[in-house]
Symmetry: C2
Subunit: 157 residues, 2 copies
């Protein structure tokens, strides 16, 4: 079907664009894309743990340890042993980290958001409906997609 191809092509364009934006963004912030992602995650949640981050990003803890080492060395985050569960480390964003995230606004978001918000109401609604439809077609049967979003709960110190 032509139709299917069209939709796949559009999807790929989206993927490609976001990939490039990711690089751009991270470069601007002086961090690698992955480092920035971690920083964003922690900043969003105010506080996190290596375990939680590893689950959210779908990588092993060992990888996160290394990433946090680098972010810590750059003064973006701090590690502190949790008082509640002394096995856990509480990861917090420093002022510098917070500033980095804030000042390097996601270019994807920036550009896209600006345009999206200039759309008419019904257009926005329609796009959201379509995106959600596509998203659910993609991750519907992905039985561990939703768990991932909720597991790795953290008890902050």
């Amino acid at each position: 079907m032509d139709r299917t191809d069209d939709s796949l092509i559009a999807l790929r364009r989206i993927l490609r664009a976001t990939e490039l934006f990711g690089k751009e963004l991270a470069h601007a912030a002086g961090l690698s894309p992955v480092q920035f992602r971690v920083l964003q995650l922690v900043a969003e949640q105010g506080m996190s743990t290596p375990k939680a981050i590893s689950v959210q990003m779908g990588v092993t803890q060992a990888t996160i340890t290394a990433l946090l080492d680098r972010l810590e060395k750059q003064g973006m985050i701090t590690r502190a042993r949790s008082q509640v569960d002394r096995r856990q480390m509480n990861i917090a964003v420093t002022e510098k980290g917070r500033a980095t995230v804030a000042e390097a606004p996601d270019p994807l978001q920036q550009r896209y958001v600006r345009q999206f918000e200039s759309l008419k109401d019904w257009e926005q609604a329609q796009i959201i409906a379509a995106l959600e439809r596509v998203a659910s077609m993609l991750d519907a049967e992905d039985m561990d997609a939703s768990p991932v979003l909720h597991s790795g709960e953290i008890k902050p110190s």
Copy 2:
């Protein structure tokens, strides 16, 4: 705006899903995601060059050289100096490579396509419109997005 957030969330779901599929797929094929992508590219086009691949993937040629080394060692592709322009290498997929791509059908495509094709006509049209809209919002100013698809022309040997 809530609306904007909704659309971004849907977008991220899409990104996450495709990322996971990428890993899944590559794992099934016994190749890394990146290696598989290269193989797919070459297979699609029947023949390519390191330069063309590097442009299409947005990485340097040095990176491609290394990737091709691995794919060649695994007997997935062959390198042959072009007779037309002796600076160029013609990259071709071997039978094994072709089989690998064929037998490890893109799970993203599989699952998504099946569902997409079961949609009503007007739904398909609407989704395509929305996706294309989003894509163009994302890569509109990215002046080399479209060129990328066409540049790196190759004169096969």
